[in-house]
């Protein structure tokens, strides 16, 4: 596994309590997703470095399998990377993804920068997770080492806490 050391933005991600910055990104060549239009539901923003790279593939495939777990907790999932819409379309079709991938493509990585998870040297985003509540406020965020698939446990715990029903110990 390649370990990239120069940029370590751990801790720079927008923290819980911060209003989630507005954005509008293409999900397909002719559709855009505007964050404010999704107000009223909980969201999970999944920033990942790139379509097709093996670890991301695992992470994105895993979340795809777990969609019902997220939906049961009232949350919608959005993937974001700096890849363009056509790349996303091919990746999504290949992996049979059932949630949208947003193209943070032009200007490149602008939304990742807004959320504090852009990696200058690499030209990609961190592998970062944000849980946003129905009022558009970030309630949990996490940056995983780029080579590590963070799984879903952190997201599920954050969503459960948001529902006010933390799982019994």
């Amino acid at each position: 596994m390649k370990i990239t050391t120069p940029q370590n933005h751990q801790g720079a991600a927008l923290a819980a309590g911060t209003p989630a910055p507005e954005f509008s990104l293409h999900s397909t060549p002719d559709q855009t997703v505007r964050l404010s239009e999704l107000r009223g539901q909980q969201l999970v923003l999944v920033f990942y470095p790139a379509d097709w790279s093996p670890v991301c593939g695992d992470q994105i495939a895993l979340y795809n399998e777990m969609l019902s777990e997220f939906q049961d907790l009232g949350a919608q999932l959005l993937g974001i990377s700096v890849d363009g819409v056509w790349c996303h379309a091919a990746f999504s079709q290949n992996r049979k993804l059932r949630f949208p991938l947003l193209a943070d493509f032009e200007p490149k990585g602008a939304v990742a920068r807004l959320y504090g998870v852009y990696r200058d040297g690499d030209g990609t985003s961190e592998r970062a997770l944000f849980v946003i509540d129905a009022d558009g406020v970030i309630r949990w965020s996490y940056i995983s080492p780029v080579g590590v698939n963070p799984g879903a446990e952190g997201i599920l715990s954050a969503l459960e806490e948001l529902q006010g029903k933390p799982e019994a110990k």
Partner: protein, 185 residues
């Protein structure tokens, strides 16, 4: 759809075998536990299968091995029915035999194949398939999957040694070293 609590598995047991609930080989109170979350159609699980067998042979009664289902159904269209067929075989007392056959025939997991494996084990194959088609074991497989999601599973196979996620290589030697090292002496 709001969930009721899907899982009856307490949080402290997401990564440990549970007596009376889980499929286990070896004594439940063995000093070392190895819990796998796996998928019968996953090639990496298939590759890990003989390595785990070798480790089991080496450690004997010092090891309790348990398997929970974590089928990645979008990538592996046969994984769900295969998992359910293993559960159906359990009803007739042949869980591990079916488990082994599935991993030994990962490329032939159509429903007809599942029926054939059931027959080969002397099971009532018609009943196995009927249970699969009726979805009788869906809830169990789902509970396994849910507990994995909550326990930190991030792909297949994911192994837990004495409750701690193992992220090393999956060959028998490396695995054996990790298992014996973490064994309380």
């Amino acid at each position: 759809m709001k969930s009721e609590t899907i899982s009856s598995i307490p949080k402290s047991k997401l990564t440990l075998p549970i007596a009376g609930r889980d499929h286990v080989q070896g004594p439940i109170d063995a000093p070392i536990t190895l819990l796998e979350y796996g998928d019968y159609e996953c090639p990496y699980c298939g590759a890990a299968y003989p390595e785990i067998k070798a480790v089991q042979e080496e450690l004997g009664d010092r090891l309790c091995f348990a398997f929970r289902n974590f089928p990645l159904v979008n990538s592996h269209p046969h994984a769900q029915h295969a998992a359910e067929a293993a559960e159906a075989a359990c009803v007739q007392g042949r869980y591990w035999e079916m488990h082994d056959l599935l991993f030994e025939h990962q490329k032939a997991l159509e429903d007809e194949d599942l029926a054939q494996y059931a027959s080969a084990l002397g099971l009532d194959a018609r009943r196995v398939i009927a249970e699969v088609l009726a979805g009788e074991h869906v809830a169990r497989v789902r509970e396994d999957f849910h507990s994995g999601a909550r326990g930190g599973v991030n792909g297949t196979p994911t192994l837990f040694i004495n409750g701690v996620r193992y992220s090393g290589l999956l060959d028998a030697n490396t695995l054996l070293a990790a298992l014996t090292q973490r064994s309380p002496v």
